[in-house]
Subunit: 155 residues, 2 copies
């Protein structure tokens, strides 16, 4: 597996990871610890909720997104995440869903303060087996520049 | 405990929750499942990393933020989360950190499509025992209107 440096990335390039199968036991166990509300932990209560059945906590879905981020192919020389914009949970995640991640590069720019780092802005889509998007966001990450690469004159 | 309806909320009002003590065992267990990189799971590797020691996965920090959201006082009649903007992990979270949440209302508006719902935009700060912010974001949630309340004329 080769990790791509900043110089090897292009706007529009895609990386993918998954699928990750999210089972009922994991949904309930996660929610009991971090989001103990009836529609995430109690099947009977969940059946009566607006979603008509058990759904994963949003932070469980976010954790799966972060896990899949670490498995993206092709992979980048990621140094650190800077943050996320426009994070939305657009559809419920249900037991047995198989989730996959697609990340597309939106923007590339050199860091002015850290010449050995590049800044990469990405659109992320986490989708289920029906191709419905369950989580979307824009992430910004630092990616290492190739050692010895010239800094671009425009930065 | 009373849950506040949309009509009872004011811009600038604050709710708080915590502290939540995040221990080393939890950091390692969470990261082994959802973010298995050395600086979150291996103390020796972490000591050599840029943070100089074990740090929590960002999704573990996010999960603690969601958990504390459910414990905020005063509490609102929250129907659903709509999403997050400008989510940033501004400082590392370390074993033994005691995290508390402060949420401040930025904006209140009636839903045009759902007259029984109000839309509330909030600034969220998750801080450690040294009062450093470790996670910040803007959240948007739906809050129930008081049953029988008149819809405001301006919506």
């Amino acid at each position: 597996m080769t990790n791509l440096y900043f110089e090897e990335l292009e706007i529009g390039s895609r990386s993918t990871a998954g699928p990750y199968l999210l089972g009922k036991d994991e949904i309930i166990r996660f929610a009991k610890q971090y989001d103990p509300i009836p529609r995430h932990i109690d099947e009977e209560a969940a059946a009566k909720s607006v979603f008509g059945g058990l759904t994963a906590s949003g932070s469980n879905t976010f954790a799966v997104y972060i896990l899949l981020s670490s498995q993206l192919q092709p992979h980048y020389q990621v140094l650190m995440g800077l943050g996320w914009e426009e994070l939305k949970l657009t559809n419920p995640v249900r037991p047995g869903d198989a989730l996959d991640l697609e990340m597309t590069i939106l923007e590339l720019r050199a860091s002015k303060s850290k010449p050995e780092w590049g800044i990469v802005r990405n659109k992320n889509l986490l989708r289920n087996q029906k191709r419905e998007t369950v989580l979307e966001c824009i992430s910004t990450i630092f990616v290492a520049r190739r050692p010895g690469a010239d800094a671009p004159s425009a930065s």
